[in-house]
């Protein structure tokens, strides 16, 4: 009797405890820094929007956590000729409304992305190379391009596939309300309250591995401190973009686990390569210098050697960074394992400067944004400190990004800090946009605000642009990187890092693209 009673009580309480933990385990609340502008996945390339789109919608191919491309709604792609690709689509995929996914949805989505109205950042350019789409059968699609486009698969894979039935003639409003927000993703939308939260539910008919948590609430909390406070108080289970200044504190907290990852966003210094007289380069007295020292490779090399990447990352960025010697991190297509970050070598730098004819340095103003990258203004100041060690008289000027980028594009600066994030999982775009010779017609080097120009490099890149053989293309990109970085076309400093923090008991499989995906949240092992 007594033992039975005990057993009963024990089992009851176990049930209760289990019940509680079970309920607890089923729902997860995310504190997300960014905010979707709309739930229409084609409306904006903006990161906050894409991050949310990715919860509900899927693409033909996708970059995995390491930014390596993996098939998703497409099972495979075949290159028929230089201009034609044939996609084999995944069968048995269902939309949230229960309808089947077919080639028709792909065609509809690609067209919709091209024709979207009123958007500042549409995907139109991704679909631009597409000349024709031909549905061979419901699961086979042929895409013909206007000219050879090696990046076609990656480009069309940026476009989320929406249901052609649900989204026909749908406006942004219809997506926001959930009416048209019908995808094939592992979660489906329950309710969105703009600027506040998104409620989602696991899609039980999902074609692939089902995510662990049934109910997910994403709270949009842009304030860093609030996210941290929410996590500490237990109202949030996981937060993204942990503020660097709180890393130390969270690391010491037993109940919190950090999940850092370095991203594919390279923070680098651009130098004015093109002009003989650069606007912000002066002598000791502040008069403009007749000669542009950045045209001398020794000077560029010296500058790179002056930067103490480790100190910068540990002190200014609280550890949230990874020193870099090239455009992309490991795992991204085109990464060259031989290119190491430049060593900190102030003595060597001074020697190089003296050799180049600047034993007493020169004057330069470093420009940078103050609200674009992680601690950008602080980083610039620290960089200035480093450069000062090379007897360079540095001034620092930072400004809001809206002013900064306009001026940077107009080439008003001599030495300036910029970031480039490779979002496609392919090193091609960075190399061609940032380092290739600027050409208004071909759009090459459109981010090359320093106007670095190296014909040898351009030749390889141009070849790679039309090379559809992937291993060959990878080799080309790696070779190109050796040329440009050996020449110090830009000074790569570090890959910005990012961290998630979870309460103990769950873990986050961090993603290099900084995206917070609900399906990546799993119970801790």
């Amino acid at each position: 009797m007594k033992t039975r009673m005990k057993a009963l009580i024990l089992s009851l309480s176990l049930i209760v405890v289990a019940g509680i933990t079970n309920i607890y385990a089923e729902t997860v609340t995310i504190g997300m820094r960014t905010n979707p502008t709309a739930l229409d996945p084609h409306f904006s390339k903006d990161g906050g929007t894409q991050m949310i789109s990715m919860q509900f919608f899927e693409t033909l191919y996708t970059a995995d956590d390491k930014m390596t491309m993996q098939p998703m709604l497409a099972e495979s792609v075949k290159v028929i000729d230089k201009l034609t690709y044939e996609f084999k689509l995944r069968k048995g995929v269902k939309f949230h409304d229960g309808s089947d996914f077919t080639a028709e949805d792909v065609v509809f989505s690609l067209k919709r992305a091209r024709d979207i109205k009123n958007s500042a950042a549409s995907f139109a350019s991704s679909v631009k190379p597409v000349k024709e789409m031909k549905i061979i059968d419901p699961y086979t699609l042929q895409i013909t391009t206007k000219k050879p486009s090696p990046l076609l698969v990656k480009e069309v894979s940026r476009i989320y596939i929406v249901s052609h039935k649900a989204a026909a003639n749908a406006s942004t409003e219809d997506f926001n309300s959930g009416k048209a927000a019908v995808g094939t993703g592992s979660y489906k939308l329950v309710k969105w309250t703009s600027g506040e939260q998104i409620v989602m539910k696991r899609f039980e008919d999902y074609w692939g591995d089902k995510p662990h948590f049934e109910d997910v609430i994403i709270k949009n909390i842009s304030n860093d401190a609030s996210r941290v406070a929410g996590l500490l108080s237990g109202s949030l289970d996981i937060i993204d973009q942990v503020p660097p200044s709180d890393m130390e504190m969270l690391k010491n907290d037993q109940k919190i686990t950090l999940w850092p990852v370095s991203t594919a966003r390279l923070i680098y210094l651009h130098m004015d390569h093109a002009r003989d007289k650069s606007p912000f380069i002066t002598d000791d007295q502040g008069n403009q210098l007749a000669k542009n020292p950045f045209k001398d490779k020794r000077v560029r090399l010296a500058l790179s050697k002056l930067i103490n990447r480790d100190a910068l990352i540990s002190r200014t960025l609280y550890g949230l960074g990874e020193p870099s010697g090239q455009m992309v991190p490991e795992g991204v297509f085109g990464y060259n394992p031989d290119l190491k970050p430049m060593e900190y070598d102030p003595k060597g730098a001074l020697a190089l400067l003296a050799e180049a004819g600047y034993p007493e340095g020169f004057g330069v103003t470093v420009h940078g944004p103050n609200n674009r990258y992680l601690y950008d203004a602080q980083v610039i100041q620290t960089v200035a400190q480093f450069l000062a060690r090379g007897k360079i008289k540095v001034k620092v000027e930072t400004m809001p990004k809206n002013v900064y980028f306009k001026r940077a594009t107009a080439r008003e600066f001599s030495l300036f800090l910029v970031g480039y994030g490779t979002s496609s999982g392919d090193g091609m775009s960075g190399l061609s946009l940032v380092l290739a010779t600027y050409n208004k017609e071909t759009k090459m080097g459109s981010n090359n605000r320093g106007r670095y120009s190296n014909p040898e490099y351009d030749a390889i890149i141009n070849k790679a642009m039309i090379e559809v053989n992937e291993p060959m293309r990878e080799k080309m990109l790696q070779d190109a990187a050796v040329i440009a970085f050996g020449d110090i076309g830009i000074i790569p400093m570090y890959f910005q890092a990012s961290a998630w923090a979870t309460r103990s008991g769950i873990q986050y499989n961090s993603r290099r693209d900084e995206r917070t995906l609900a399906r990546n949240i799993v119970p801790a092992m």
Partner: protein
Amino acid sequence: MTVFIVRRLMQSVLVVLVVSMILFAGIFAIGNPVDILLPPDATQEDREEAIQALGLDKPLLIQYGLFLANAVRGDLGTSFVHNVPSMQLILHRMNATLELALLALIFAVFIGIPLGMLSGAHPNTLLDRTLMTGSIFGFSIPNFWQGLMLIMVFSVFLRWLPSTGRGETGTILGIETSLATWDGIQHMIMPALNLSLYKISMVMRLTRASMRETLPMDFVKFARAKGLTGRRIIFVHVLKNIMLPIITVIGMELGSLIAFGVVTETIFAWPGMGKLLIDSINVLDRPVIVAWLMIVVLLFISINLLVDIIYSVLDPRIRLSDVKS
């Protein structure tokens, strides 16, 4: 009264026009929003397309004309960033801001006026001097730093109050408000206090000054000579007179409370209009900036009109002079 309203309305239209014109031109000068909206790896082609898509390629005057034409129909443009009507975006956030501003105003009135009256009734006493020095302190302390210190003391060291966000909201009388939940109230205390300290000081000084001005007036002495009690003299004769300037100032201050929300909302991460403005400035979301300011201008104008009407109800002299004119 008709003249009064007609005059005010005409002035208002003029103000709105002028402000919108200045704003439009000014924000046009800041820069091209496309640079911000596009991802950093966007191509020149993307840029040009975006510019066209947003209608930014048209001359400024035409853009302004289009804006005006739409504004008259109640459409203040669609956010570049959010692709929803700016108006909707702002109104959605307005609730939180107004709630905060009103609570701050209530603090200012119910703390400021009694203290000011106390001070004014006992001039040059220790109490008066302490209160007055306190009030100078109150409007000397920079608003944002005061917010930080509140957070430092009450959130970081004492851990009594949450430092950021709006907390849980509930619904009272169909209005979503933080005051409906305990959590919401906790979240609101510090921001409201932060917003109101300056106003408390101001109202206090104003009340005191009005008291000092009113108390020596003949009609107060006459009221005493009539044998009225001190209470009636203070709470009827004096209070009704000093309410006039106070109401004007409070009306004007409500406007500035909304504006100062920009700072407070930034510090306490209060999801109100102020933060929206700062965010929109940062991304140059022109339709939202312009709409924001238009709405605030309209808000100011209506508050002023309201204050003037209340004023004329309270002050019989105003009412009559208007009828006469």
